[in-house]
């Protein structure tokens, strides 16, 4: 989905509103269509530097359970994506928090490479480079960049989804771009550290 399509007045956004309202009225076709449209975006958002594909899928499943449980809190006529991303964002944070506690109990990070079959080195180089670069940004900046760039949300929608103001979102995005520039400038041999 492009950024323009995500604007609340676009036909795509209007269609999402219609589907969401129908989902609230227990329309199964609308629910299935909403799932089909939103899930890839959410999976892309939930996948990140420290999440594997299976973990992202688990988060997506958890996220849908939360969306379903909270569907009555969607206000008809209001933009759908900020509502969805606000819930997805908290799903991700809660999952990472839980995982961190589990990892702390189960494995120390140094041992992970020797245990798992799938490490960063085994994955596609481009993807590893990508995450290596983005992972160096603070979590809040990564989140804003992902919403603005990957999900195509507007500043206003990103502010709603993150529970902050438009000014704060602009500032975070600005700082993230600045940091990315610095990272690229400092990367030895044109590769992120």
């Amino acid at each position: 989905m492009t950024k323009a399509a995500a604007q609340s007045s676009s036909p795509e956004a209007e269609e999402l509103k219609r589907l969401m309202e129908a989902y609230q009225q227990a329309d199964k076709d609308a629910a299935a269509e909403l799932f089909r449209r939103i899930s890839p975006m959410l999976l892309r958002f939930l996948a990140g530097p420290i999440s594997t594909r299976p973990l992202a899928e688990d988060m997506l499943q958890e996220c849908w359970m939360r969306l379903h449980k909270a569907r009555h809190t969607y206000r008809p006529g209001s933009p759908v994506l900020p509502w969805v991303y606000a819930i997805a964002r908290h799903t991700r944070v809660d999952t990472y928090r839980r995982r961190r506690n589990i990892d702390r109990l189960e494995l120390i990070p140094e041992n992970l490479e020797s245990v798992g079959g799938s490490t960063a080195a085994d994955q596609d180089n481009e993807r590893a480079d990508l995450w290596a670069l983005v992972a160096q940004l603070p979590q809040s900046q990564q989140e804003v960049i992902r919403m603005l760039k990957v999900a195509g949300l507007s500043l206003e929608e990103t502010a709603r989804a993150t529970g902050s103001t438009v000014g704060a979102v602009k500032q975070k995005a600005h700082r993230a771009y600045g940091k990315l520039r610095t990272l690229i400038e400092n990367a030895p041999g044109g590769r992120p550290r």
Partner: protein, 265 residues
């Protein structure tokens, strides 16, 4: 190519509906892994576009199988009025129980200023809490700023308008008011939680702090009208610490809720 120009062009291209890159930049991307990675990220190019069939079947079995109509939550405005009604009703009930002898011991300016600050604070908290119940609501002010302004407003009003008198039994008198105030805070908290339960609260800790603060304001009103001691140290120790303590307790309970939910699940 200068990295600043590269990043700027990549960001601009990603913002365009149909991204296109100059030949020079495309050549650069062939050689530079970092910029290529950044471009992939900005375009949202990941390998997660295909959904696993298990997820679809899980969605079908859990969501679609017993899909029932869900009545949309009332608007944030209605919810804010509901919070306000809880605040006013409980304050009135406790004032009826404790009396208004304290009001006669204060000047109209003192009474008006403290009650004014409390009413503004309660209104702001009601609006904020109502928005926290609806995910993706517009954020007008950060919770940290809101809480700071409320606490600062109360302390400044008390310090500026009430006389600073040394008290020998500051803490014992303060403790009596504190205990009575906590009694008023508990039912207020319970009712606020009941209202909050109708929405989908995402940040339990912050909302817990906000609810605690609002419940604490009920006791501030009650004590301000019922307590005859008008020295600023007493009001700060015996009255104003209640919303602070209630906010802290609410925060920690809110922190514990997700952990408990995770354990139970």
């Amino acid at each position: 190519m200068n990295s600043r120009h590269v990043v700027d062009e990549l960001v601009q291209a990603s913002q365009a509906g149909a991204p296109s890159l100059s030949g020079k930049l495309r050549g650069h991307l062939e050689q530079c892994a970092s910029c290529k990675a950044l471009w992939g990220f900005l375009k949202g190019k990941t390998d997660v576009d295909d959904l696993p069939p298990e997820l679809q079947s899980k969605f079908d079995s859990v969501v679609l199988s017993d899909l029932e109509p869900a009545k949309p939550i009332p608007s944030a405005r209605v919810l804010a009025v509901l919070f306000g009604a809880v605040f006013v009703t409980l304050s009135a009930a406790f004032i009826l129980m404790s009396g208004i002898s304290g009001a006669q011991a204060q000047s109209s300016l003192q009474l008006g200023a403290v009650l004014g600050v409390v009413c503004i604070a309660a209104t702001a908290l009601a609006v904020w809490l109502s928005r926290e119940m609806i995910p993706g609501s517009k954020c007008l002010i950060s919770p940290a700023s809101l809480f700071t302004m409320i606490c600062a407003g109360l302390f400044i009003a008390v310090l500026g308008l009430f006389e600073w008198q040394q008290e020998n039994a500051l803490f014992s008198h303060g403790w009596q008011c504190f205990r009575a105030g906590i009694f008023a805070t508990l039912p207020a908290s319970a009712l606020l939680i009941l209202v909050l339960n109708r929405g989908a609260v995402l940040s339990f800790a912050v909302v817990g702090a906000g609810a605690g603060l609002m419940a604490g304001l009920v006791s501030v009103v009650t004590l301000q009208l019922g307590c005859t001691m008008t020295s600023s140290p007493h009001i700060m120790v015996g009255h104003l610490t209640i919303p602070l303590v209630a906010a802290a307790v609410g925060y920690f309970i809110g922190k514990a809720v997700p952990l408990l939910m995770a354990r139970l699940s």
